[in-house]
Subunit: 194 residues, 2 copies
């Protein structure tokens, strides 16, 4: 909560992203607006432009934040699954992705936006790198077939993303969701090992 007796905010950039995240959680993309984010920080809309070249860049920063939140859950799950075989860890990642999409559907719509802005820290491990590392473990030692790696990565990412979106938009029932997640991920597992 910013002290509005002060003319200068102090840490506005982070506060803007925080407010954007909250707004996105509550109302989805429609509600995430430069003016409303600024108002939530007790600041004028123009102040945003001291920290972001455009409103889209602010949205992109919120999206990046959302990706980091999602990544945290993925890493937590993977830490608890270090002993499992790669195929099971891939499933953990997929389940995490889908669970996030269904738990925070509006935030997720930011996650799945194409990245218009380079991430603040490009070295940060993102979901794609994560998947790649695990997929590499499926390769026979010393003989990495890049094309096989790529198609496996794509299958893993595409099916998780597609499933998340379809369940979010068209399957409201939680039980049906759980059934479909299990059934589809089983089949994806078979396709991944082929």
């Amino acid at each position: 909560m910013p002290d509005r007796s002060r003319y200068h905010h102090g840490a506005l950039r982070d506060a803007l992203v925080d407010a954007g995240e909250a707004l996105a959680r509550a109302e989805g993309l429609e509600g995430v607006t430069v003016r409303r984010i600024a108002a939530a920080c007790g600041v004028s809309a123009a102040a945003v432009y001291r920290h972001f070249p455009s409103g889209d860049h602010l949205i992109a920063a919120v999206a990046q934040r959302a990706r980091e939140i999602m990544a945290r859950d993925m890493f937590a799950r993977l830490d608890a699954a270090v002993d499992k075989p790669p195929i099971d860890r891939l499933r953990e990642v997929g389940e995490s992705y889908i669970a996030f999409a269904l738990a925070e559907p509006r935030l997720f719509s930011l996650v799945s936006m194409p990245m218009t802005t380079p991430p603040d820290r490009p070295d940060d491990p993102n979901a794609a790198d994560l998947v790649r590392d695990i997929v590499l473990e499926l390769e026979p030692p010393g003989a990495v077939d890049e094309q096989r790696v790529a198609s496996r990565m794509m299958l893993a990412q595409a099916s998780a993303h597609g499933l998340a979106v379809i369940l979010r938009d068209f399957v409201p029932d939680p039980q049906a969701r759980a059934m479909l997640i299990a059934g589809v991920l089983d089949r994806v597992g078979v396709g991944l090992e082929a």
Copy 2:
């Protein structure tokens, strides 16, 4: 091209959807705006509301139009593949979906919008029904396992949609796209038959 000497347009609703389609093709969702669509028809913005309860309904109608265009290609491909086994026809559908997404990326962003409005003709066969019919052929005669059908449908739809989106947003190179489509659809085929 409407005759602007007449006060009344005559077939404004269809003209609006046509203009919306053209605008979506050219500029994507951002360019699809009530006022610009109306202007393209030589009509005031308020006239739109005689035919659609809201601008979103107009957008939804354009999206429905886009789905019909996509469906036409699917049916054409299926007509040319009636003799192939179900798994191959499923692949045709998936390839059609992905090809449309990559050929008309902006129109495709409308296709993949959640349907906010019921389709004009709910009996029109949509992509989901199409997939279901083919998936049913994979079932052993007389013993349809609904859960297996559902998970196969979902895998088919989710992987095609996810792959389309990821390729569109992150893989510009046509050759890489073709490689990935082939590789992923091969694996999806394996998963579908499991």
